[in-house]
Symmetry: C2
Subunit: 343 residues, 2 copies
DNA sequence: GTTAGCACTCTTTTGTCGCGAGTGCTAACT
DNA sequence: AGTTAGCACTCGCGACAAAAGAGTGCTAAC
């Protein structure tokens, strides 16, 4: 749907004004905000047409207009000025995500927290997916007479560790047996091939040693699961209260939605493009019907591996937050690439 | 301050009714709730006296009475029936905290989450304090040409690990050097003696090796800090919205308060008794002035080491939640004792 | 000490009214 | 044909008033 230039100007002004104030905007207000040489009546006519086209709506007859979800969509796709990020904002973001010597989880947790603070929205991120990774290395470190720590390194550079407990005292022959099993059965194996069936056949093939080895073997499998699973990092839930009126009655549902990592990871994984904006009901979760999501994906070694996003009211400030989310996400991608490749 | 038996009965009835309904309770309502053979006028007289004593108040002249913080306090200290926990609730709690083979952090995180769900409040817990612990063991596991994982075990059984990166390729002589330094300088050292000053003298004494060893040594120190620091686990923040009206305008402040672990750990550490209830402004944090806190402390090897608590509105259901929190906390204590002592 | 009765207070609800904001339509103008 | 001025119309909102309802405090009698 193509709009005349003047309609576009009006639509943009309505969207921007409403985003700023949260109040329905009428023809007169618009007249002074717009450097245009027409009368308010003309603007009214144009607005009526925009409403007929579905881009604007009236909360009630005698109020101004507010954008519909389609209105926001048109604004984001066609009208929004993509001014480059301020240098000072860039530097602020750079400071916010810098974290040396930290795990991917810690980096993303901090990034989410920072992004939430910066945008006054709730922020979410997913840890790198380990779907196509294989097991590169497994180590066992005794830390007590019956306790040891298993360390797993994947081909994508993710390191996971887990304390594990044996039913009998550890001795070097057991540890050697463990390494033999690991070498023969695990190294090089794709993470997603370690399921309970594989484990059972493995345990069955061990014969007499099975009993003592089970805690170790199952710990390795748990680690593989963990390394594969993407975790959801969450920040700034309290910011939901900040825009409480905009969320209406869905505020509680929204907070509850945020707690459950699973749907969020679906939400974030659901888009292929470099970055994505979902406005109101555009995503299939009805808890988000009064929310917009701005998300971007980060790459590790050029490979799309995870996402970072913010969730705010539909009248979120798209124009200035989209570039911020994208820039931050790119930075995090670089940082993670670096972290995971250093050996 | 001693109250007559009848006054106590009335106060208890007011508190319990208000906790249940959230509505101010008047003399007639009370009459039907109370199996007492007096008229509403008598109850009015008694309530007027209770108000004069500071245990009840009226939101406005023609409304019923609601308990003051002092009223809740008297109720909790003297009136509240301490019925033992239902067997079914006990079993529910046992199921909620059972987690085999998990780290203390994971156990407490799950316990907080579960407690929040069970009580419809926000729940918090602190990880065991490592204040008096010493370093028992340190291991180094190479996982790449320049990367290794350092594993630290404390005398209290806490295991922490961290990936650490060298500037040059690792070789066995460096690893041996590392173990020498560790043996000589760290093993047996109390965690709180590892500060920057100690580290600097240590690095200074290493002479030429200092440069290559610094990443390792400082990683050990970071691990020691981590093992010492109590972390705050948080669950059920969304439940704050559930009692939004009760928190009034402090709802946002409350959520924000919960995010910052530090004040919460102060709050929880501030009480010596086995368990503790803070009502409204009784704790020094003004973000909690409309909240009550029910907290209990768990013991590891008989030693008070951490706390678990819930934060709700002042009209929280003390009588049934206090036993739940205590029972759960005891269970967690047992579980942690077991986890940390198994070697 | 207890109770019935009653006047009193204060909130809440409902209804009405007028104001103001903003619209849509029509007729005139360019 | 597009634009504009003018005007009647609609609707939400705040103010105000009246009525209803809940609950109290007090007094006088039991």
């Amino acid at each position: 749907m193509e709009l005349s230039q003047r309609k576009e100007k009006i639509l943009a002004a309505v969207v921007e004004h409403y985003i700023r104030t949260g109040e329905p905007v009428g023809s007169k207000t618009l007249l002074s905000a717009l450097d245009i040489t027409v009368s308010s009546a003309t603007i009214r006519n144009e607005m009526a047409e925009l409403a007929a086209l579905g881009y604007l709506e009236q909360p009630h007859t005698s109020a101004g207009r507010i954008p519909t979800n389609e209105g926001y969509r048109y604004y984001v796709d066609n009208l929004m000025g993509v001014r480059p990020l301020d240098e000072s904002v860039k530097r602020q973001i750079e400071a916010g995500v810098s974290l040396k010597n930290a795990s991917p989880e810690a980096i993303l947790a901090k990034a989410s927290e920072f992004l939430a603070d910066m945008t006054d929205c709730a922020a979410v991120s997913t840890t790198p997916s380990g779907e196509n990774a294989t097991i590169k290395r497994i180590e066992f470190v005794p830390v007590g007479t019956r306790t040891g720590m298993i360390v797993l390194l994947t081909s994508t550079g993710v390191i996971k560790s887990k304390v594990c407990r044996s039913d009998v005292d550890l001795n070097s022959s057991m540890i050697e047996k463990f390494y033999n099993i690991v070498k023969a059965s695990f190294i090089g194996l794709p993470l997603d091939e370690i399921d309970t069936a594989t484990l059972q056949t493995l345990v069955a093939s061990m014969g007499a040693d099975a009993l003592t080895m089970i805690p170790f073997v199952s710990a390795v499998s748990e680690l593989a699961q963990e390394a594969m699973r993407t975790m959801v990092m969450l920040g700034g839930q309290s910011n939901i209260l900040r825009y409480r009126e905009d969320y209406g009655t869905t505020a509680y549902e929204l907070m509850d939605f945020l707690r459950r990592g699973e749907p969020i990871s679906q939400l974030l994984a659901n888009s292929k493009a470099d970055f994505d904006v979902k406005i109101g009901g555009e995503n299939k979760f009805k808890q988000l019907e009064n929310s917009s999501v701005i998300m971007a994906h980060y790459n590790i070694d050029g490979d799309n591996r995870g996402s970072i996003g913010i969730i705010g009211p539909t009248r979120i400030d798209y124009a200035s937050l989209i570039p911020s989310v994208r820039y931050l996400t790119d930075l995090v991608g670089e940082l993670l690439t670096q972290t995971l490749n250093e050996e």
